[in-house]
């Protein structure tokens, strides 16, 4: 029984292949302008790595494919589409069975999902109107600061006194950051300030749905340790981050696909 979950995000497509409920291959690539092609390429990419290990499977021979993410409706070859909220919940619970609050920070959206003890979605909110509190916010400000977005986390850990970013708007935050650079504020302090700003924004959403322990952070931005630490400080609780946090939505989709085949 081989199934696939594919998560078409605004920036990247993620695919997870499950064989008898075991993750056997994953892939991540840039979405581009055609969601359906990107989804197909992502699954094929993952299948290729399977073939290299002597397991030959084609897209057509997959038992079930579930699509999720913003572009899910465009993936016509998928057998089913499920909302990202449901997939995030299923994926996060699979890795951390005790999780009650799932925070997903993606490239262009963020979500906070509260789950019941049994893992049912009880309350959720999402923001994809405004860049603040998303990966794009980090991306824009990393460019202004002049460091790679992947280095932000590590650099921010050296901060002694985070520089306060008061604007929630990305455009205004950018000019605040520029003025800090002019004033020769150490960049690690500026970066830590940027992370705090994201944490504040997410914390506001968490308060809206109500937080229950344990808390998990998923989505690409969860790879930034600075954001994790800033959010932990804000919430006052430790936060669980799975390995490959950007794959959780696709993992959830794959698990739902497996369930549809009656193996879960």
């Amino acid at each position: 029984m081989i199934v696939a979950g594919v998560d078409i995000g605004s920036l990247t497509v993620k695919a997870v292949i499950l064989r008898d409920n075991e993750v056997v291959a994953t892939s991540t690539l840039i979405t581009g302008d055609d969601a359906a092609t990107a989804a197909k390429t992502a699954i094929n990419e993952a299948l290729k790595s399977l073939a290299e290990r002597g397991m030959s499977v084609t897209l057509d021979s997959l038992d079930h494919i579930v699509a999720t993410g913003v572009g899910r409706k465009e993936v016509t070859f998928a057998h089913e589409e499920k909302t990202d909220v449901r997939c995030d919940a299923v994926g996060a619970r699979h890795i951390f069975p005790s999780v009650r609050t799932v925070v997903d920070i993606g490239a262009e959206s963020c979500k906070v999902i509260r789950l019941s003890k049994k893992g049912r979605v009880e309350d959720f909110t999402a923001n994809d109107k405004c860049a603040s509190g998303t990966g794009m916010f980090l991306d824009v400000l990393a460019k202004v600061i002049g460091v790679g977005v992947e280095k932000l986390g590590e650099l921010s850990l050296k901060a002694k006194k985070p520089a306060k970013i008061s604007s929630m708007c990305t455009v205004f935050a950018e000019s605040e950051v520029i003025s800090y650079i002019h004033r020769k504020v150490p960049i690690e302090n500026i970066i830590a300030g940027v992370h705090e700003s994201i944490a504040n924004r997410i914390f506001g959403m968490m308060n809206r749905v109500g937080v229950e322990k344990d808390i998990a952070l998923v989505g690409g931005v969860a790879r930034n340790v600075g954001v994790v630490k800033a959010l932990e400080a804000k919430v006052g609780e430790s936060i669980l981050v799975p390995e490959g946090p950007q794959l959780i939505g696709a993992l959830g989709a794959a698990l739902i696909a497996a369930e549809a085949c009656g193996t879960a």
């Binding site: 499920k82 909302t83 909220v85 449901r86 049912r120 979605v121 009880e122 309350d123 959720f124 909110t125 999402a126 923001n127 994809d128 109107k129 405004c130 604007s167 929630m168 708007c169 506001g204 959403m205 809206r208 749905v209």
Partner: protein, 87 residues
Amino acid sequence: MIIHYGYADGSGEYYLIVDTDKCDGCGRCVEVCPNDILELAPDDYGKVVVRVKDEFVNSIGYICPACKRRDERCENVCEHAAISYSW
């Protein structure tokens, strides 16, 4: 399940909140909405409930507060108090 449709931005918080456990899918709210932003659709667990159409989620703050002065608005016509606002 409680779903917060909307967003928070520099000017405030704009959420239309639906409690899908209370909603019975009668569609009264969909009928009275003057801007046609609501629809009935199955949720993640297959129950048909009211939802905000995707294309309107990010403009709730410009559309919905104007209904404050209307007596016949989604919040009021719902017999189960399944809809509430954050403004």
